[in-house]
């Protein structure tokens, strides 16, 4: 009871914390600490909204229809992919500036508005925030009627996710700049591909997109989401044990297009260039 609820907490927590930790590492690494409050603002808004909205659907008769819920989650995920993709290339352009040792131009490369930082953090956390909040409330309710184990498990899981994300952050900022960009960027490519597949799967469940039961593979028995490895993979890469063909194709296509674009070494530009 403790473990399986803990794994849900870990998974949901990782989905939210991973992108945020990379974003924070990136800002710290590039001396843009002044942007950090905007990260926490975005995260804060997402948490407040999720908690408020979760309370609404838990304690009142307000409901979203199933289609609305899935369309909303799926839509948010797709928007999140767009923003994370933007972040990937924004990191790449920064790497280019650094590669060209034009540290003075760093400011130009980082012309990223606070709004973008807020929205990105908001989406990273808000995407799964509602589901997590509702889950949290039901574990609180269970605690009220005698069993505190799910709540403890869930909190431990979230804490573990935050600890892992923090570990990733600490590890990441130890790298030298060039390596940092390559590794975190590449990691983000896979994360974004997972979020894309996940969003499409939501839309398939709502029957907005077809092909929910046309499976590419079904690893329910070999690598279940309910055990720690599956939960970790789901938390980090949005792995699904039953992956539909549409999901698989979208995932492969995204990685096949974005990863090479990201990894191709940009030509160093001479200082005189614009």
């Amino acid at each position: 009871m403790l473990v399986s609820n803990g794994l849900i907490g870990l998974r949901e927590g990782l989905e939210a914390a991973l992108v945020v930790s990379i974003l924070v590492a990136f800002l710290v690494k590039t001396d843009r600490r002044d942007r950090l409050p905007f990260v926490w603002l975005g995260v804060g808004i997402a948490v407040v909204l999720s908690v408020g909205f979760g309370a609404l659907v838990t304690f009142t008769t307000a409901t979203m229809t199933f289609e609305q819920q899935e369309a909303f989650g799926g839509g948010m995920s797709l928007v999140a992919v767009a923003f994370v993709t933007g972040m990937i290339f924004w990191m790449r352009s920064t790497a280019r500036t650094i590669a060209a040792e034009l540290r003075g131009k760093m400011d130009q490369a980082l012309k990223v508005g606070p709004a973008a930082v807020v929205v990105l953090s908001f989406l990273a956390v808000g995407r799964e925030g509602l589901e997590t909040a509702v889950f949290f409330y039901s574990s609180v309710q269970s605690a009220g009627v005698g069993t505190t184990q799910p709540l403890i498990g869930f909190v431990v899981g979230i804490a573990a996710a935050v600890a892992l994300a923090y570990g990733l952050y600490r590890g990441a900022i130890r790298f030298d700049l060039g390596k940092f960009f390559t590794w975190t960027g590449a990691l983000l490519v896979f994360v974004a591909a997972g979020v894309l597949a996940y969003g499409l799967h939501d839309l398939q469940e709502a029957a907005i997109l077809p092909g929910l039961n046309t499976l590419a593979f079904d690893l329910s028995d070999t690598l279940p989401e309910g055990e720690w490895l599956g939960a970790l993979l789901k938390g980090i890469f949005n792995y699904s044990q039953r992956t539909s063909v549409l999901q698989a194709v979208a995932w492969v296509a995204y990685v096949a297009i974005v990863l090479p674009l990201f990894l191709i070494k940009p030509r160093s530009r001479a200082a005189g260039d614009n």
Partner: protein, 374 residues
Amino acid sequence: MSTATRSLGLGSLLLLLAACGGGGGTPSADGPIAVEATDDACKVAKNTAGTGNVTFEVTNKGTKVTEFYLYAEGDRILGEVENIGPGLTRRLIVEVTEAGKLQTACKPGMKGDGIRADFTVTGDAKKATDSDAKLAEATKSYQRYVNSQADSLLTKTTEFVDAVKAGKVEDAKALFPVSRTYWERIEPVAESFGDLDPRIDGREDVIEEGLEFTGYHRLEKDLWETGLQPDSAAIADRLLTDVKEIVEKAKAVELTPLQLANGAKELLDEVATGKITGEEDRYSHTDLWDFRANVDGSQAAIAALRPVIAEKDAALAATVDEKFKALDALLETHRKGDGFKLYTELSEAEVKALAEAVDALGEPISKVAEVVAR
């Protein structure tokens, strides 16, 4: 956009979703249906419910994380709740709009097809009937439109044919675009009758397809280009026969709402491919009459569907109205007396502006079918 407004936007989106979900449907008479899920069983307290909001309280008494689904026929998901950890209770509220045989399923370990059980919903259909009634009304009202246009088509075509046969070239020329107006308004209906359409409305290009060049455009060529031919009268007679047949068929045809929506789009495509280019009435250059008529027909189909569109997608209804208005206004600037300017009197810029207005309208119209099918 400033940060604050953007986050406000997202916030209000959430609240909006909350609002539209709030109190949707009528709650079932009795409280929630308790579901006790374990690792190898799925005990649903009741296997029947009335239409409206059906609420399940799913308690996981097993050791594995579980999910609970409500399926309609063909495993269409009506509702699901995931991540029910051991010891947790989670609620699922599903709005079931019509009676039917459903299935409940628990999925211990979140895998496989789950432990299924039948679940029957009885009672009157909710929401759906309103839509169905509106759709039925839509087809009826469009049918009335088609009938009235078909009558006028027959009247005006008879006058046109008589003028041709009497050799009154000027009268015939004046009647040509007028009689075609009624034809163009209901063209999608007419097109569903196979070879009648090319016989009545085929252009000279049909010869390449091994067909005879007859109908309106053949007479148009005679009137404007070559002068009346020895067989003009025979062609006119045949046109009247064909029009009579199509009028009869058009009155009997029963269109589905989806066909209406697609017809509205087809009419605009007609405009974009034939009228904008000036190739439809290449001898008389009365393309704008046809253009106006196609837009009228499209508007009539949309007007019939409007209550349905407004209910299902108010924003789309507003967009469509607005784009129709814009196109109407633009077309009206080219009026001349009872009719329109000739195509040859339009400047290139004017044609381009018309094309853009048609495209701007075609885009929202193409979404109507999907909204109607919802």
